[in-house]
Amino acid sequence: MTKRLTWIYWVAGLLVAAIVVAGYFRNGPPHAAGPAALAGHRAPSFEVRSLDGKQGSLAQYRGHIVFMNLWASWCPPCRLEMPDLQRFYAAYRSRNVIVLGVNQGESARRARAFADSLGIHFPVLLDEDQQYGRVYAALGLPTTIVIDPAGIVERGFDGPLTYDQMVAAVRPLLRRK
């Protein structure tokens, strides 16, 4: 066997060894947990009933900046956050920002009583089967997802946001327009 052939064998062998070993040390990008992990992915949408009795979904707001808030009436932080959400909706509706409430698992009667008591006027979907909660990896309630006009998740938040945090969350998208 020539020296050259021996070298070729060694190089080929080492290359294969490197490929094989590298496969077991595959380091993906750091994995974010919860709704934040969805940033950059297409926002899934499901057809459910809305509070006004019609069918509705996230997809029908494509073309808007959507501030999707998952909530339930039994959740105290959701109740605390609602007045700021309503204020934010009123202030930014004219700038193509939609606040979309998605109630998790409750009947229309409960959701409506809650919305009426807090003077909520933004659209609300009733997700009885908690599909949005599952797919958006909610770690608790409230959970907020910011979606750009193309339907791509911009950011995800676990827990209640203040008015200033809501404004800060959509500011980059408003600048991009």
């Binding site: 294969v16 094989v20 409960r110 770690l139």
Partner: protein, 309 residues
């Protein structure tokens, strides 16, 4: 020459077995991998002897040994570096990250969570790699791993209060917080029967609920009232948030039916849903390259041997 061929072939066969019957614990034992390595070392030793006695066969033998070495290395790397077999369980609609795979498994919704047995495809997504679909009854080779579906029973639960209001279900101790689908990933023993169980919360009613799943055979031994009509069933135990079981808080519900237990109206629907089995295995691509080199070397060796080299 025969002993060289036998030793190299033995190593190749021991590794190929890992691909054909994946996931056996024995592949990760030190002695198993030591035998593979020793076979290659012995073949190498025999090649040195062959080089002196039949120099004309050395090139073909080296090719054969290179192939066997590649295969053996892939096998040993898988056995010693690969993680142990494990099962990834996810709720319909959830995405579960698996650090060993360096990616996430996306578990789809069933056509309906209420539909009996579902046939769904789970997807593996990894950064910078093509998405891999894992359909039922098919193995998928992904780098140094083999993945396949293993169906398991899950329970879709629906809860209403006394006024008929639908209530939110949460699973604070499970991977998916907002899911009405119980994955029944734990097991317990009741009346000598090993049964899967899970738990969930109904925050609007300040209730905790434990759920135990009984198969058709197990349910038949329960003598429940009303009778379960040959269906699998779920036993619910409703307690306060302080874990005090309520009066009338224990009851059994047949698949697809509802019952008032501890002030909650509970509906249980049992479905089959896949989990994903992940086992490390020799890299499919490297294994086949090694096999091809090994076979080419074997054929060349036979030809050279016949030619009297």
């Amino acid at each position: 020459m025969g002993s060289l061929l036998f030793a190299a072939g033995a190593a190749v066969v021991m590794v190929a077995i890992q691909e054909i019957w994946p996931g056996r614990a024995v592949y990760q034992y030190g002695w198993y991998n030591a035998i593979v390595a020793a076979s290659i070392a012995y073949a190498l030793f025999r090649m040195q002897a062959l080089r002196r006695s039949r120099p004309g066969l050395t090139g073909a033998a080296a090719l054969l040994l290179l192939g066997a070495g590649v295969v053996a290395f892939a096998g040993i790397a898988s056995g010693l570096l690969g993680p142990g077999p494990h099962t990834v369980v996810g709720a319909p609609g959830s995405t579960v990250h698996d650090a060993d795979l360096g990616g996430s498994l996306v578990f789809p919704f069933l056509q309906s969570d209420h539909a009996g047995t579902g046939s769904v495809t789970v997807d593996l997504r990894r950064a910078g790699a093509v998405q891999v679909a894992i359909p039922p009854n098919r193995r998928r080779y992904v780098g140094g791993f083999i993945l396949w579906q293993r169906p398991r029973s899950v329970v879709h639960v629906s809860v209403r209060d006394a006024r008929g209001n639908h209530l939110t279900i949460t699973q604070p101790t499970n991977s998916v917080f907002l899911s009405p689908v119980l994955l029944m990933a734990q097991s317990t023993t009741i009346a000598g029967m090993t049964v899967p169980f899970d738990s969930f919360a109904v925050p609007a009613a300040a209730r905790q609920v434990k759920a135990v799943l009984f198969s058709v055979q197990q349910a038949a031994q329960l003598h429940a009232n009303p009778p379960l009509d040959g269906l699998p069933a779920v036993l619910f135990a409703v307690s306060t948030s302080g874990d005090q079981v309520l009066p009338g808080g224990i009851g059994i519900v047949a698949d697809g039916s509802s019952r008032s237990i501890g002030g909650l109206n509970l509906t249980a629907k049992i479905a089959s849903y896949p989990s994903i089995v992940v086992v490390s295995a020799p890299s499919f691509f490297v294994l086949w390259i090694g096999m091809a080199i090994f076979l080419a070397g074997t054929v060349r060796l036979a030809i050279r041997y016949r030619a009297g080299a």
